[in-house]
């Protein structure tokens, strides 16, 4: 079940990305956090207890929403715009 529910922008142009290998679509104007959480219910697993996390402050302060791309690049989901072709991995336990 997705965590976030779109109230507007549902018909904006699509931006393709993959989430754990599955083809997904975000919308123009999405942050990476929005793009993931309108499809899934978590962003990552925590480093120590592998408990699910989905961000907290959404303003770049709490550092809870770091995710990894297939390339190994790390980024903060709440303050990064979604771009076409991103391959996002949420299943790896360690995002650090």
């Amino acid at each position: 079940m997705p965590l976030l529910h779109r109230l507007v922008r549902a018909d904006h142009p699509a931006i393709p990305f993959t989430l754990d290998g599955v083809a997904c679509e975000g919308r123009t104007g999405d942050t990476v956090l929005t793009a993931i959480l309108t499809h899934a219910d978590r962003l990552r697993l925590s480093e120590f207890s592998a408990s699910p996390r989905a961000g907290f402050c959404q303003m770049g302060a709490c550092q809870d929403c770091w995710i990894v791309l297939e390339s190994g690049e790390r980024l903060r989901a709440c303050s990064t715009s979604l771009t076409a072709g991103m391959s996002i991995v949420t299943r790896r336990a360690r995002a650090a």
Binding site: L3, F48, P52, A54, G55, A61, S81
Partner: protein, 467 residues
């Protein structure tokens, strides 16, 4: 975007493009200076007047409600400064040393010499840990508001708002207006505390009445408002499933899939700390804050501070404090400045300060949190340290100072540098040692103030070595 000014005297640096930073920039430009404004967001406005990444059919009235004219004015006025200042959006100031700032922008770090530093770094939500607060679906009130305002998303299909402070009712009301389903508003403060708002009526009747109207509209919409909520537990296996609480000795439980949570705000003070500003404990905010005079001068000559980053006072105060601090910078440079305007701004700020005292009484801090927090509850989200582990560390090492507690328990040592857990760690340490919250020290800030890639830090050092 243009590069660093090459004029003989370096340009003033403004950190933050929210209400305080915008008004400060405007005042400096008006006086003929060309400041550099750095801001983490892609566009100006700060958190409260944050702009969308793209337009989405909503009006500014939809987004900012009664504050739409202020938001529009700030965005418009800042846009009008284009060409008269340097503006670096999506730029992170991550270090300050020897009159230079290290700023990460577009994947590289630049070192900027400045002459005059005006910090307008704003605030984030203050939260205190609860069982289940790390579950997906729990966001801060500010986070819930950003999801709605900036991204046009609700944080759940059945949302509960929890905590205290004006933002609690504002965000619940904004969700209701946007058509999201609000299941309940749970206020940790007792209903009787709200009578304090009557004292605020003569000061700012418009604000008090607007708050009352929002509360009435929530009630009319059938949304349950609960006061004096305690012993809150958030339940769920992999996401939020329900919230349970105690009220008047009775147990309550409500199914929900999203929770917005916050207990007023806390100042972002890392940059002031790195700039060497002296701090003092502030009773109203229950936090150590940079010392400043009425104009916004810190203890360090040439360093000024304005807005919520200097102590929580809200957006209206931030606009005034930003302009006031800019006037102080001009005065200290021996430039013409409008002394009458400065006096007016200070009087208005003092009046807002008195109103903040009223709000604090109406939305009081939950005094017994540290006594009641269960050992098993995760206190530090980054390092996943429980309240019990912190209590044990305090006892075992005889700790009575916050940085020492950080050293022995790792609380505040994680990626957020104590932004999220710092207030809770301080409250718990004060309670466990029987000291006042003002007597246990404050977490020292470290560069980089937010995570930056290791390669970036190297490039900054190399740049310095090359000079």
């Amino acid at each position: 975007m243009t590069g660093v000014s090459t004029s003989e005297r370096p340009q003033p640096l403004i950190v933050g493009a929210g209400p305080a930073g915008i008004r400060a920039a405007q005042a400096l430009v008006k006086a003929g200076l060309r400041p550099l404004v750095v801001d983490e967001a892609p566009s100006c406005g700060g958190q409260i007047y944050r702009q969308r990444l793209v337009s989405d059919g909503r009006s500014t009235r939809d987004l900012y409600g009664s504050e739409a004219p202020k938001a529009e004015a700030l965005h418009r006025d800042f846009a009008a400064l284009d060409g008269k200042l340097d503006y670096w959006p999506q730029a992170l100031l991550w270090n300050l040393r020897d009159g230079r700032a290290d700023i990460m922008i577009e994947g590289t770090s630049r070192q900027v010499a400045y002459d005059g530093l005006l910090l307008a770094t704003g605030a984030t939500d203050r939260t205190l840990p609860l069982p289940g607060w790390t579950l997906p679906g729990v966001f801060t009130l500010g986070g819930a508001q950003i999801a709605l305002k900036s991204q046009g998303c609700a944080i759940g299909s059945k949302v509960v708002f929890l905590g205290s402070g004006p933002l609690l009712y504002l965000v619940a009301w904004q969700y209701m207006k946007a058509g999201a389903r609000v299941a309940a508003v749970l206020d940790t403060a007792p209903f009787a505390a709200k009578f304090n708002l009557l004292r605020g009526l003569p000061l700012f009747p418009g604000i008090v009445l607007r708050g009352m109207r929002m509360t009435a509209e929530l009630k009319l919409a059938g949304i349950a408002l609960h006061y004096g909520v305690g012993d809150v537990r958030i339940e769920g296996a992999s996401t939020v499933a329900a919230i349970a609480w105690r009220q008047d000795g009775m147990e309550h439980r409500l199914a929900c899939d999203g929770i917005g949570y916050g207990l007023a705000l806390r100042s972002e003070t890392q940059a002031a700390d790195l700039a060497g500003c002296r701090f003092a404990f502030n009773t109203r905010d229950r936090a150590a804050l940079p010392e400043r005079d009425a104009a916004g001068r810190t203890s360090v000559p040439g360093v000024y501070i304005a807005g919520d980053g200097a102590g929580i006072a809200g957006a209206d105060a931030a606009e005034r404090a930003g302009e006031r601090a800019a006037l102080a910078l001009l005065q200290d440079r021996g430039l013409p400045h409008d002394a009458a305007r400065a006096a007016t701004l200070e009087a208005e700020l003092a009046s807002i300060g008195r109103f903040r005292d009223v709000l604090e009484a109406a939305f009081p801090f939950p005094a017994h949190w540290a006594r009641d927090i269960a050992d098993a509850t995760t206190l530090c989200r980054c390092e996943e340290i429980t309240a019990g582990e912190i209590r044990a560390a305090i006892g075992r090492f005889g700790v009575h100072e916050l940085n020492r507690l950080k050293a022995v328990s790792r609380v505040g040592m994680g990626r957020c540098q104590g932004r999220v857990c710092g207030a809770a760690a301080a409250e718990l340490l004060a309670h466990e040692t029987g000291r006042g919250i003002e007597a246990i020290g404050r977490l020292r800030s470290q560069a980089p103030v937010k995570p930056v890639p290791l390669t970036l830090a190297l490039s900054a050092q190399q740049q310095e070595a090359a000079e």
